[in-house]
Subunit: 169 residues, 2 copies
DNA sequence: GATTGATATGTAAGAGCTGACATGTCAAGC
DNA sequence: GCTTGACATGTCAGCTCTTACATATCAATC
């Protein structure tokens, strides 16, 4: 068992929900649907698919034009995916550069801090806007809902923090 | 300029807010205060401090017992830290295994999905409990507030999702 | 038929990070 | 003086991930 399965799981998840696809397709789907949750470029995806095929998790269903290889998930792949979803512990490992900025706000003077918080707020607002007009089904609807909750709570935090900075500054 | 400065920034931030410290101290502080925002083990911290010293961002203030080296932030280090805090774009790069699980919930049957959501809820509740009785000042207070907001919105999402699963299942 | 741009797949170098291993110091209790 | 356990620092192998580079196909326009 590999240490970090997340990329494999994400790829298997896409193949399971949206059907067989090429590496290029999967890279596009990462950009458009999984983007708010996980990122991976084609340079990571192509080699990983080869390894996953070697491990029996996917098969090359057929080869199309331009050397296009269409991958499909296997029964073994589905089993691994379900096992991970059901069994994986929601780990405490979160890495957020935004939270790091929030952690260190006290090092800045009030004006600078307010500017940083405004930028963070704008970032959450942009994400909210994208998610809000998302066509049904592009995202899993529960993931969409989670994203909306998180964006809204980020904006609420930014507003409170700006008010506090103004009071104290 | 390196591609990813986050570890450096986190270390500089700790040295700036809590004063000079050894690699061991910094590793402990990562565990206790920065833990909900960023993780790094001593195996990453020790070599990074050496590189940062070579780059003039920190200096070895003095050496204590047991070969203990106390690092202090330099003016150059403070400048880099401020520059990053003020100038860093809150990137869209978020990686959350929890969100990945949420994304793929539709692949599970209702019972399995509910169990996964319960686990996620428990995880957010545990985090909320830890943050709620956090002594003032261990966290930056704005980061603490952000953490509380995020934990609460995670719990709200879990409750809504469980209700929806029960309705539809 | 030549050029251009979107499509599509790949490799390689190097930075980032984790887990396992190795080493030595100091304080306290026996 | 010996053992034990917490303190403290470090290396290394191997995996993950990003950036830059390389290549080839197809469709459309000139």
């Amino acid at each position: 068992m590999l240490a970090d399965m997340s990329l494999r799981i994400a790829l298997l998840g896409l193949l399971a929900t949206k059907g067989p696809a090429s590496g290029y397709d999967l890279a596009k789907k990462f950009e458009h649907s999984l983007n708010h949750v996980w990122q991976a470029g084609h340079t990571q995806i192509y080699p990983e698919l080869v390894k996953m095929a070697a491990d029996g998790l996917v098969t090359v269903e057929h080869e199309g034009a331009r050397g296009r290889k269409i991958y499909a998930i296997t029964a073994e792949g589905r089993a691994l995916l379900t096992e991970w979803l059901v069994g994986h512990d929601p780990s405490a490992t979160v890495r957020s550069e935004t939270a790091l900025q929030a952690f260190l706000l006290a090092l800045l003077d009030t004006e600078q801090a307010a500017a940083v918080v405004e930028r963070i707020k704008a970032h959450f607002q942009a994400r909210l806007a994208v998610l809000d007009c998302q066509p049904e089904g592009l995202f899993g609807k529960y993931a969409l809902s989670l994203g909306l909750h998180q964006a809204r709570s980020g904006i609420a935090w930014a507003d409170e923090t700006l008010a506090a900075l103004r009071r104290e500054g």
